[in-house]
Symmetry: C2
Subunit: 699 residues, 2 copies
Amino acid sequence: MDKLLVLFTFLGSAAALIFAVITAKRVLRFPEGTDTMKKISAWVKSGANAYLKRQYFVVAVFFAAMFVILLVMALCKLLTIYVPFAFVTGGFFSALSGFIGMKIATASNARTANACREGLNRGLRVAFSAGSVMGFTVVGLGLLDISIWFFLLNNILKLSPNEISSAMLTFGMGASSMALFARVGGGIFTKAADVGADLVGKVEAGIPEDDPRNPAVIADNVGDNVGDVAGMGADLYESYVGSIISASALGVAAFKANGLSAMAVPMLIAAIGIVCSIFGTFLVRTKENATQKNLLKSLSRGTNFSAIIIAVLAFPIVWFCLGGKASIGLYFAIIAGLLSGVLIGQSTEYFTSDTYKPTRHLASKSETGSATIIIGGLGLGMLSTALPILIVAVCILVAYFASGGGSNMNMGLYGISLSAVGMLSTLGITLATDAYGPVADNAGGIAEMAGLEPEVRQRTDALDSLGNTTAATGKGFAIGSAALTALALMASYVNKVDEVAASAGKAVDLTFNLTNPTVLVGLFIGACLPFIFAALTMESVGKAAQSIVIEVRRQFKEITGLMEGKAEADYASCVDLCTKASLREMVLPTVVAIIAPVATGLILGYHGVVGMLAGATATGFLMAIFMSNSGGAWDNAKKYIESGAHDGKGSDQHKAAVVGDTVGDPFKDTSGPAINILIKLLSMVSIVFAALVVRYSIF
Amino acid sequence: MDKLLVLFTFLGSAAALIFAVITAKRVLRFPEGTDTMKKISAWVKSGANAYLKRQYFVVAVFFAAMFVILLVMALCKLLTIYVPFAFVTGGFFSALSGFIGMKIATASNARTANACREGLNRGLRVAFSAGSVMGFTVVGLGLLDISIWFFLLNNILKLSPNEISSAMLTFGMGASSMALFARVGGGIFTKAADVGADLVGKVEAGIPEDDPRNPAVIADNVGDNVGDVAGMGADLYESYVGSIISASALGVAAFKANGLSAMAVPMLIAAIGIVCSIFGTFLVRTKENATQKNLLKSLSRGTNFSAIIIAVLAFPIVWFCLGGKASIGLYFAIIAGLLSGVLIGQSTEYFTSDTYKPTRHLASKSETGSATIIIGGLGLGMLSTALPILIVAVCILVAYFASGGGSNMNMGLYGISLSAVGMLSTLGITLATDAYGPVADNAGGIAEMAGLEPEVRQRTDALDSLGNTTAATGKGFAIGSAALTALALMASYVNKVDEVAASAGKAVDLTFNLTNPTVLVGLFIGACLPFIFAALTMESVGKAAQSIVIEVRRQFKEITGLMEGKAEADYASCVDLCTKASLREMVLPTVVAIIAPVATGLILGYHGVVGMLAGATATGFLMAIFMSNSGGAWDNAKKYIESGAHDGKGSDQHKAAVVGDTVGDPFKDTSGPAINILIKLLSMVSIVFAALVVRYSIF
């Protein structure tokens, strides 16, 4: 049975990786276009490469330090010896996912622009193929890491299911740490460049977006690749792996004797999800002169097909592994997760797309200036938390009680964790539809800078605008799965505390009563963490953007002939500034995320930690939705005005909307998505440091 | 013993009320100044009166409906028969506090302006006296309501301490409902008028603030009185009463046999707090030509003196009532509360005063436009939650464990509730220093409109600017005590569930484990409520402001000679519009606050309710601080720029700062303070509907 499992997951990951390689080769066969396009593309590539190299260096120092700490803890018997190594591999594969995604994205930008010269369908194929490479690399590497460790721990070292799941949880911490660095660093880079370029270029100098005279324009494009692509890759690698390993761990707790089979379920669902997603990608094609509706339909066809097939195939998997009545309930949990992801995505779309009332109403607030559009956007984002909260609430209750949580708590928690796996099972294709957005966006930039025909830009814009909608759906999956996975990890933490206390011969009280003051205080502190985290990251974007503003102003002033197009801007200096600023600024938020649970634990004990995790998950979920949706709505309100509403581009209303969009930039692309990672990293760190906390805490 | 207690509390409340009457008489002896001043003052008075009358009518309908519902529930044995009546008196006294505060404030505006013509010290005396009337009315009426009910239930009806505290908790629900209406309605009124007046008058027409040509200028002044004064009065009445009755209820639970003495402690501390506060007011005076520092010192002298005396006298009270080792611990809890209030106030001041780095740094962001100052302000507010969270966390732990919560949970919870009482014990004088701000603000408006000498406006500005600082301290007390009281009420809810379940013969499980999905789902829903509430109230301000903008634009266009000062604006129409809009908009948020706990309870059961209360308290505390501090910092950053920094008034930087201030208006004066009330109202409603939930919930 266990050999079959390893074989299947290996095959699943291999399928994903082979598909990614084939797709990548196909993409690279497309020509890069004119010499100017090649030159611009080369700048972006070298900027992104340089950034990632330096980022990985900083991260490597961090990982080395953490490795030593974990090794010392392992030698002190506070951890098993596999933990430091698992931690490092999690980080490595997460970084690799981001790196490969960035490589293919930067290689496809000019190719997409060039393909758009020939037609929309061709452009879509190139951009979507690039997204697919990224999507399947992420899921392939995720499942590979899982199956290697499973093989090593189970088949070679012959550990018990409990020990296996416990060790595997810790490579989640590596993945989460890396993901947080990538999201925060990349998010700061991309938004600093974007805000800086817009504030001086668009607002002060009055030149259009993506104008080659703007010294920050290459940095802006680099930012899309290192933030929206590499950051997202590392992020979703972490989500994917996190959901699978937390479900595995809870499966062992729920099924004890039959633990191996329960561990198998999430891995097999992930494997089968990959195969379904590959089939789904073949359905994504569109006819020439397609409307945006056609394009969206074409993408939805692919994802819906995959989702339906998985929904069908999940049942035999659960039945085969676990059998009996339990499997029916667990199957419902998986379906609940799958459905919730879709519903949260639709709620996001409703609140942020300019085809619906909320964003149109927001755009109308531009009539009374920037203050009212800001107030309106903040209100919209806050209000938009209600629906996702209800969806997740129903999902939790269904997953828990359908799985038999009423009589056996561990079964219910396993059900919740499986619903997160169900939600992410189609990640291969949803990530493809998500990652293709930045590629199309960059293609548009290159088309503009290279002075291609206007219809090329129109086509890339059509692809890009569609990307905003698919990104909204993608965010739904990312946020929803983050909340469910974080809850599953919280439950794993409780099991871990039980385990380490037993091995240390300490008595523990595993009720986390809300009338217990340490739980309550933990809850307060945890609830505060997403606020602090959001504040730190926003402040960092502000600081970094300020340095870009100063540099761009300097170049406009000092480089003679720049504005007339006779001299070339010094793009490299802006890229360099963004790199330095984002690397400097990404460290503090990540360190806060790692120190907070350890400090809380050492002072308040494990009761405080559980309170903290619950508080951080609840507020983090809310803040992530609030910030993402406010930002998305501002962005699309601006686009709606640019399309001609409320006196269109250049009007006072448009200026007000630009202010909203600028405020929304760090909201939706830096702070919001990073909070998803934060809430899982907090749990992972808590699990790894559980033994330390149980032994040495004050309370 | 119990007769002595009633006597003491009666005497305490009598002292407060008599002092308020004497002070009011003294204020009214001051002349109102010139005929123009009298005329303007009369407009403001009649506007405020008209608003409150109509508000009370709407509220009366709500109270009548709730009275019937509660009466029916009482007849169905789901409540005791005292509840509907207690509910109504709570609402009545809360409204009365607001009403009297408004009356004295509107009577003192012109008098303060006139006194400022003679000198700063005279101006301070009048404004501070008006604030004192308000402060002591609130505490006097609060304690009066408590002692009347206590006398009735204990001495006349001879109920058990448990029944007494239980009935008394329900008049807290009346007070909270009224307070929420007053805060939300008043908050919408004042900010709609303020934003509307600024957007058209200052920004579009370019006329100064408080210019009599602006049709919304009287509405703006009326708003200060119905929002910042009447709203705050009802609000703090609720906080004061809420903290005392929740402590009484927990005292009964903790001391069972000796319940009456435990109930006595919070009441006696409140009574003695009144006396100390009265003495404190006599220390508030300043010399002519005082700097702002002198003024602040003079106010601090009064509050610090009161606080120190209470800190000394609290010990004999606790010792006398409860004796033994327990009283030492409880005394520490009281002191912890007293200290925490001061520290939260100082943290607020640090983050929002332009004498410190954060606000100055925020002002510097105006250099790169309104978007960066908005991002900066949001980040500042979010970051500023960290310190208050830590202060409250330490306070909770100290109060709980010092009171012996480690061995007896109920003692610990009683300690937490006493810390809230300690925090609010100096309310008489802190509220006086807080409420004097709007009086000084209005005096400035009248000075401007009546065309008084520039030095008068300078003096009122000095008083007003000081008011911003004292308001920050006041907010610290309001927010801190709200969190502690909400936690105490959550504990009371648990006791209540136990009680009603016992009388219904139902078995209950009183552990609220965070791994229980109904608790978790409740937590998610509760955490979401402050977000929804903030969104609804902000949206309401936006809507109401929009209607004012349209009306002011209309008047500027249609009334010929208005801009030249030859024709008079139609002030009444703006007042009327604000009134209608705020009354229409205040209903939904309040109804949400009342329905949410009942609906959550009926679906998720009492476990879900406790989760909801914990979630709402944690997020509510954070949101209240975030919104208040962001708003305060934007306001002061704007003032800092107006004082000459960053190119001063009229510059682009100033315009950017005005956008920040406008966004901050609903943050700090509508949504933020209302959330404090929300989290307590949720608990009160839960307590009142506990029997219904325990009997009929689905889960």
